[in-house]
C-alpha cells in the first residue's frame, strides 16, 4: 500500500479518482472488488483518526460494497432490454466530480495570476466636489454611527496573547493636542486614520473622549464619510 496523506483528499470521490489514476484503471470498467478492499483500508485509517469526513467515506464504502454484491447477481435490464451496469451511477459521479476538479485547477491559475496584480490603494486624497443634492441618505451622522465607528476601532485592536502590564502615559489633553495637530496638518481627517496604529484600547478610548470634548467646545466638527463605520473630523476656523 502506498503511503498517502489522508487529508490531501477532498472526499471519497477524490480518493477513488486517485486510485484510478495511480493504477491506470479504466474508469468505465472499474475492478470493483479490488478498489473496494483498498478503499476499506483507508476508511479504517480515517475512522482511527476520527476525521470529520469519516461519515462521507463510510457512506461511499457501503455504496462500493453494494455495487460489489450487485456485480455478482444477474444483471438487471432497463426498459430497452439493455443490461444495467451496477457501476454506472458511480462512474457518472466520478466523471462529474472530475470535471469540476479540473475547473478548480484552472481557477487556481487565475487566482495566482490575479494575485500578482495590484489595484490602486489610496483614494482619500482625491479632490472631490460632491453635488449636495445626492447626499440624501446619510446627510447627518448620528450618535449611533459615531458609536459604531468607535466600536469598530475597538474591535480592530487585536487581542495581545502576552499580557504585559505597562503604564501608558496618555491624557485627554495630550490627545486633544494630537487631534488638533493632525487637523492643522491635513485640514480634515478620517476617524479610523486618526486612531490607525494605536495599539492599546485605552489610547483609542481617550482619543475618542478628546474628540467628544473638542466637539462640545466646537473646535472641530464631524460629518459622515462615504465609508460606513467611519467619519470625517474637520477643524472649525473660529473654534
Amino acid at each position: 500500500m502506498y503511503k498517502i496523506k489522508l487529508d490531501q483528499f477532498e472526499g471519497p470521490l477524490d480518493l477513488l479518482l486517485f486510485f484510478i489514476k495511480r493504477d491506470e484503471l479504466n474508469i468505465y470498467d472499474i475492478p470493483i472488488s479490488r478498489i473496494t478492499s483498498e478503499f476499506l483500508e483507508y476508511v479504517n485509517l480515517i475512522k482511527l483518526m476520527d476525521l470529520e469526513v469519516a461519515g462521507d467515506f463510510i457512506l461511499m464504502a457501503s455504496t462500493l460494497m453494494h455495487i460489489k454484491v450487485r456485480m455478482l447477481l444477474p444483471r438487471e435490464v432497463d426498459e430497452k432490454g439493455d443490461e444495467i451496469d451496477p457501476r454506472a451511477d458511480l462512474i457518472k459521479a466520478l466523471l462529474e466530480y472530475k470535471k469540476y476538479k479540473e475547473v478548480a485547477e484552472d481557477l487556481t491559475f487565475l487566482e495566482s495570476n490575479q494575485r500578482k496584480l495590484n489595484f490602486r490603494g489610496y483614494f482619500s486624497a482625491d479632490e472631490k466636489i460632491a453635488p449636495p443634492e445626492y447626499d440624501i441618505l446619510l446627510k447627518n451622522i448620528s450618535v449611533y454611527d459615531l458609536a459604531k465607528a468607535f466600536k469598530k476601532a475597538i474591535d480592530g485592536v487585536k487581542p495581545q496573547v502576552v499580557h504585559e502590564i505597562k503604564k501608558i502615559n496618555i491624557s485627554i489633553d495630550d490627545q486633544i493636542r494630537y487631534i488638533l495637530d493632525r487637523i492643522l496638518e491635513k485640514g480634515e481627517i478620517h476617524f479610523l486614520s486618526l486612531v490607525h496604529g494605536m495599539k492599546e484600547k485605552i489610547r483609542i478610548v481617550i482619543t475618542f473622549i478628546a474628540l467628544l470634548e473638542l466637539t462640545k467646545i466646537e473646535k472641530i466638527g464631524i460629518r459622515e464619510s462615504p465609508e460606513f463605520n467611519d467619519f470625517v473630523i474637520y477643524g472649525i476656523a473660529n473654534g
Partner: protein, 216 residues
Amino acid sequence: MDKSYSSIIEVLIFSSDEPISESEIIRAIKGIDGEDIEISSENISDTVDLLNKSYEDSSRSFRIKKIANGFVFVTSEIFAKYVGYLSSEKSKRRLSQAALETLAIIAYKQPVTKPELEQIRGVNSDYILTTLLEKNLITITGRAESIGRPLLYGTTTEFLKYFGLYNLSYLPKPREIEEIMKDEDFIEQKNKIMMNFVEESLEKEISEDKNDDPAE
C-alpha cells in the same frame, strides 16, 4: 540609481493603501533586490518629480503628491466634480447599514411598531423610517391595539421586487442563516448578505432599465 526603479517607485505609490514614505520605498526595493542597491531618499523625490513631469507632458489626469506621511496619487482638482459625482452616486446606491438593519427588522417582525423597532435597534429611527417610506420599501399597514395605538409598519411589494423575492416566505429564515453561519458573527454576516442582495438587485435594476430603454 538604476533608471528602472522609476516604475517600481510608481507601482509602490500606486498600490499602497496608505501614503508611502521614502524609507518604506527604499525598504521594499532593498528587501527584494538586496541591501547593496544604492538608492537614496533624494533619488526617490527626484524620480517622483520626473514621473509628475511625464504625467503632465502626456496630459494624465492624476499626479503624485506628497502629503504629511508620504507619497500618494491624487486626481487633478479640475476633475473634482466628476470624482465627486461618482462618490455620491456610490453612497446613494448603498442603503446605509442602519437603513438595512431597520429594513431587516421590519421584514422579519412585521407588522411592527416604531417603539418595538427602536427597542431592538436601541436608537431613534424616525429618519430612517421616513427614508424607507419615501423609497416605498415599507408602508404603514395599520395601527396596533396597544396604548397610544402606534402605527404598524410592514414591507411593500416594491420591497419584494427590490430583493427579488417571490413572497415573504422566500426570505432566508433566521434559523437557516444561523445554521449556515454557526458562529457569533451571524448578525454581521447577515448584514453582509443583505448588502449583497441590495447591491445586486440594484445592479440588476440598472441593467434592466438599460435593456428596457434603448434610448439610454
